[in-house]
């Protein structure tokens, strides 16, 4: 297991003893129970777990879409665990590039306008953001489809638009939630290759998935179960421990 003690100063992400408690119908649900780990710049990490393991809650906390009940979350040197809604909005805009399972593109906007969106909230001038959006679409080889709306694109193309949108603001990390979950295996493979390229280019990637096969492709995987970390090691090892060598595709 790698060191998750929080000793790593200068790490991009440092999560210390994070808990998240929900109150549902008068009952207390402990989704995260004292989770601690760190992620360095340039790492590609999968957070893997079964349904109900707390991985989605972990993803929301890491993405600054939710705040922990207790514990500390340092992102790029900033304590984001007690920030206000608007402060978190700025952090999301600057530090995080989201890639969602269901793409979450605005259906009435073109691919280009969708990619521009994070820059709109950064207050960037229209001309500059258009240029940057075009460059981001070029990285995912979709410049030829930039004036198409999401319903005119295939699933793989939509996810590439979403990746371009995540890349456009040059965030500290890309946070992907089941990025291949809605794609057929060939298109999924295409997207994973794109992630490999981005990793090689120095991007920090955090993938939240329930697929051991995908986790096996990551250099590092953290496995969650019942809101706690049960494994933290190389992607291959963690995936194999979950599903065996065949299922993990290793």
């Amino acid at each position: 297991m790698s060191d998750g003690s929080g000793a790593g100063n200068g790490r991009l992400i440092q999560v210390d003893d994070i808990t998240r408690v929900f109150h549902v119908g008068g009952e207390e649900v402990r989704a995260l129970r004292g989770v601690t780990f760190g992620i360095s710049r340039g790492e590609w990490v999968a957070i893997i777990g079964q349904s109900g393991s707390g991985k989605s809650t972990m993803m929301n906390v890491l993405g600054c879409l939710d705040t922990p009940t207790s514990g500390r979350y340092m992102l790029n040197g900033k304590d984001v665990s007690r920030m206000s809604d608007d402060e978190l909005a700025v952090i999301r805009n600057v530090e995080i590039g989201f890639i969602f399972q269901t793409f979450q593109l605005l259906p009435k906007e073109t691919a280009l306008a969708n990619v521009e969106l994070p820059l709109v909230y950064r207050g960037m001038a229209a001309k500059e953001r258009r240029e940057r959006a075009k460059a981001a679409l070029d990285k995912v080889q979709l410049t030829h489809r930039m004036h198409h709306r999401p319903n005119e694109l295939s699933g793989g193309q939509r996810q590439r638009v979403a990746i371009a949108r995540a890349l456009v603001s040059e965030p500290s990390m890309l946070l992907a939630d089941e990025p291949t979950g809605n794609l057929d295996s060939a298109t999924g493979e295409e997207i994973v290759r794109l992630f490999e390229q981005l990793h090689k280019a120095g991007h920090t990637l955090v993938l939240v998935t329930h697929e051991p096969k995908l986790a096996a492709r990551c250099p590092r995987a953290i496995r969650l179960s019942d809101g706690s970390i049960v494994a933290d090691g190389s992607g291959r090892e963690v995936a194999m421990a979950v599903a065996g060598p065949m299922v993990a595709g290793v």
Binding site: L65, A89, N93, Q104, Y121, A125
Partner: protein, 410 residues
């Protein structure tokens, strides 16, 4: 500014995306604004016309009467009826004792009269005016053909008459009536002139359906028990106030009015006559704004409803926008801009419709209407206000949405 422009672009996109829904939503605002524009057009037109028609008194002329002007307010007519009449003795006293007064022109009139010839007769709607020889100086009437009666005819009470154009046309179609004989109340009159066309008062009552006879003859026919209306012109515009003061003092003295009592007669100037109309027009303006406000509230509820639907439909979009870095106030601004733009568009349509109705009214009934620019400004500002007022709640709801929950929305 950039955020505002982005919000404006988004709002326009939404608006154009659902044009029919947007238009139906705006109906209340359109009707409200059209109402206020039309009413303001009507009032402003009426005001211009009243000022023009009532402003027949010259720059330094005023009128002395027993009765107050207008009839727009609630008058205690019984109280005014008890006032002493203004008679020829008063007129002579003014002529003699008010040094600043130049011209005094007493008159009286009777409506609903018939004028006839041996072969034709008008309807019983002619106004017969008994006037002095000075009447043309103060009243603005002028003679189209023939002449006005002279001093001798006036003092002697000769049976001469000047016909208004309408009367002349109905009794003598195509002929100059000068020299012919007409009958008023069975008394024969020789036509000595036809008056210049004057048009209608407020676009409704013809001012050419009248006939002028010497006041002395008039009083022989209709009696002397009626109070006279006396037009009084100051010798010089600079003496206008002084002449009024002299007449007021003289009349109070002649009628023995105690110093602590108000006048028992009226002095009208152009200002005092139009003031009573303005009082009425204010009441109509307030009523118009009331109707407009009511429609705007109805329109506002439409906007509230459609914005709530819009927020519900676009919950997921709001979630995505927030996830990508939109702050609360940005989402608030986006939806508030949308509501205001919607309302403003409704206001614009209402202004257009209002102008259309004003134009139609002008064309159909020949009533002069003009919309004051401030009414357009007021209507559009009120639309904006309604959009903001009723759009802020849905916008606040959108801004408060939790991004995770919102993105899960199907």
């Amino acid at each position: 500014m950039r955020a505002f422009l982005d919000n404006l672009r988004l709002a326009l996109g939404t608006f154009l995306g659902n044009p029919l829904r947007s238009l139906l939503t705006l109906l209340g605002i359109v009707i409200g604004v059209a109402t206020v524009i039309t009413m303001m057009g009507l009032i402003e037109g009426l005001r211009t016309k009243v000022n023009k028609d009532l402003g027949r008194l010259g720059a330094h002329t005023f009128q002395l009467t027993k009765w107050p002007a207008g009839g727009f307010g609630r008058f205690n007519w019984a109280k005014f009826a008890k006032r002493p009449n203004i008679d020829m003795e008063d007129v002579h006293a003014i002529e003699m004792l008010c040094p600043s007064v130049g011209v005094v022109a007493p008159s009286d009139d009777a409506g609903g009269q018939k004028v006839s010839t041996a072969s034709a007769e008008t309807r019983p709607s002619v106004r017969i005016i008994g006037a002095s020889t000075t009447y043309p100086i103060t009243s603005g009437v002028s003679v189209q053909s023939g002449r006005y009666f002279n001093e001798v005819e006036g003092l002697d009470g000769r049976s001469v008459v000047l016909l208004g154009v309408d009367v002349a046309d109905s009794l003598f179609p195509g002929i100059d009536p000068v020299g012919f004989e007409v009958r008023i109340q069975n008394r024969p009159f020789r036509v000595i002139g036809v008056l210049q066309r004057r048009g209608s008062f407020l676009g409704m009552v013809s001012m050419d359906n009248q006939a002028i006879i010497p006041l002395r003859v008039y009083q022989q026919m209709y009696g002397k028990e009626w109070s006279l209306a006396v037009d009084i012109q100051a010798k010089d515009p600079s003496l206008f106030r002084k002449a009024q003061d002299e007449v007021t003092t003289l009349m109070r003295r002649r009628r023995n009015v105690d110093p602590d009592q108000p006048n028992d007669f009226e002095i009208h100037t152009n200002e005092s006559v139009t003031a009573s109309f303005n009082q009425l027009s204010q009441v109509i303006t307030i009523a118009g704004i009331g109707v407009c406000l009511l429609s705007l509230v109805v329109g506002g509820i439409g906007i509230l409803n459609i914005m709530l639907v819009s927020v519900m439909e676009r919950t997921r979009e709001i979630g995505v926008r927030k996830a990508l870095g939109a702050k609360r106030r940005r989402i608030l601004g986006q939806f508030a801009t949308e509501a205001v733009l919607l309302a403003l568009f409704g206001g614009g349509l209402g202004v257009g419709l209002g102008f259309g109705l004003v134009f139609l009214g002008d064309w159909m009934v020949g009533f002069p209407m003009s919309v004051p620019p401030w009414a357009v400004g007021l209507a559009l500002s009120m639309s904006c206000g309604v959009g903001l007022l009723f759009g802020i709640y849905p916008a606040a709801r959108a801004a408060k949405l939790d991004p995770v929950e919102a993105m899960r929305n199907e």
